[in-house]
Subunit: 319 residues, 2 copies
């Protein structure tokens, strides 16, 4: 206990001082579910809550990373320290398909004021969402002013990840028909800011009109979701995105919804972590515990229903 405790404390001190190698190592610990990683987050947690966290989601190929690259450049021009966390939920089917996107951030690789990291799915989106928050907290504690979270896809699971952010940006491009349909059908949550990238495309106006139509179906009070046109690769429209992010933050601070959002997210997080830990504990017991294995065999043999088996498992683990 003593040695790892000391290591965590040392690492925490370097991290709080803004040391990027300490931050990189800390995130690896969290990503690998190392107990020392959790100890570290525990240590630095009181120093968190200061960074502005912005989440970016949208289908692959719309230019999220290019936009984030442009926003990083803008933030650096205002002397803000930035961290980018890309969460890659790719299935094992096509490894590294998103790497192309990542490379667009290389402009900033040598800038000590920018920290870039990606984390990959390890099959459990629940677990990935938890690891995302831990990593974001570490970035926050390391003194980053802006933390940009990026994920790919527009389903509920991706939204859960991005929900750790204070402001959620949906990035689309002309031709993102499926996403518009998903917004329209209410399958996708309404974000705080919508960016239509690659806005030199002739179908941009149609797209913006369609989005407006969808938004007009929603609540008409409170925050009005702005639609910003960008050509991120040329930097066009990026200033306006920065302004809208600023506006949204001012709005949620003034309304008290920032605190409310964070409170709700942290509570969800605690519940999710507790449930996840229990699930891991149960999963580990399957291989080791012949009784658990026998219970599952009963389920597969259609002699014991899944809910009864779950109740029995929970009972055993609460005994």
């Amino acid at each position: 206990m003593a040695a790892p405790g000391r290591t965590a404390a040392e690492l925490a001190e370097r991290l709080l001082g803004g040391d990027r190698r300490a931050l990189a190592r800390a995130i690896s610990l969290v990503e690998n579910d190392d107990p020392e990683g959790w100890a570290l987050v525990r240590e630095v947690y009181p120093h968190t809550g200061r960074a502005a966290m912005v989440g970016f989601t949208g289908p692959p190929g719309v230019g999220k990373s290019t936009l984030i690259g442009a926003l990083v450049k803008n933030a650096r021009g205002r002397d803000r320290e930035v961290a980018v966390l890309s969460i890659d939920p790719s299935s094992p089917f096509t490894h590294g398909a998103l790497l192309g996107d990542r490379i667009r951030l290389t402009d900033h690789f040598l800038d000590p004021g920018v920290f870039i990291r990606s984390m990959a799915s390890r099959g459990s989106l629940g677990g990935l969402s938890e690891a995302t928050l831990q990593a974001a907290l570490l970035m926050d504690a390391a003194g980053k002013d802006d933390v940009f979270l990026e994920t790919v896809g527009v389903g509920q699971a991706e939204v859960d990840i991005i929900d750790h952010a204070d402001t959620v940006v949906l990035v689309l491009m002309p031709g993102s028909g499926d996403s518009i349909q998903a917004l329209k059908a209410g399958v996708m949550e309404i974000p705080d800011v919508i960016v239509v990238n690659k806005a030199d495309h002739p179908l941009t106006d149609t797209m913006v009109r369609e989005i407006r139509g969808v938004l007009s179906l929603g609540p008409q009070e409170g925050w009005r979701v702005p639609i910003v046109r960008t050509e991120a690769s040329k930097g066009a429209g990026v200033e306006e995105v920065v302004q809208r992010l600023h506006d949204h933050r001012a709005h949620i601070e003034a309304e008290g919804t920032l605190e409310e959002r964070r409170r709700r997210n942290l509570m969800n997080e605690v519940m999710a972590l507790a449930a996840l830990r229990l699930r891991r504990r149960l999963e580990e017991s399957v291989g080791r515990d012949p009784d658990v294995q026998a219970l599952l065999d009963e389920v597969v043999g259609r002699r014991l229903d899944p809910a009864s088996a779950a109740a029995q498992l929970l009972e055993r683990n609460s005994g």
Copy 2:
């Protein structure tokens, strides 16, 4: 205990006899998380495992319900009893946006050999996935030969729901650019059968070529994912979909992967149910238990980190 037990037993008997009102009532019990619903599933579970379960997913508007309607008609022509379960993950933002799709199934509303039901998200996709399996088991126990599960969207959460099926069908239409990108990037899992609906569209060939390109990046052994063109509204291509579903089932039965798939899904289900129950128990305790409330206040106040709070909660509930 005695009275509800008797009711469940009576309801179970009627359900096993194929009584549709009993089935409808049973699903409502499960949907409302009524303990009697769980008792019922426990009762009829030994009579499940017989139905062919097919899951359909894809973005909104591609014509999934029209296709399912055509498949229902085809199955009825072969004297098979069919159940359709539509799972609607719409956010509260736009209620009933998918109703238009549903209406296309009304042809079958009066046919006693067809049972149609939709279930809506209640904010917890985890819980919805569990309720889906319970409802599908009830349909299976009621003697349906085919159970069609339908969901909207193509994220991980939707795939989790559809994973209860033996065969997964992805339905697209020309212009489903986001979905192709998601397949390509590995964000979306590769399904067992791909249907390109509305195949009278001039861009159909391009779309099929793109899908072939994506599939060629994947594993080249085992089951080859067929791409079927349909115009479901005219019935065109539906016979071929039926044939491909049959082929896939024959393939997984011959290879033993049907048993393997079901075993894996049931095991995941038991773990998920146990974790979900714990989470519900914890969530309920927040309102009632001042100690839990105090613990969460510590987290929001940045004095106690989320993981430590989760561990303490789990400890308390295992004590």
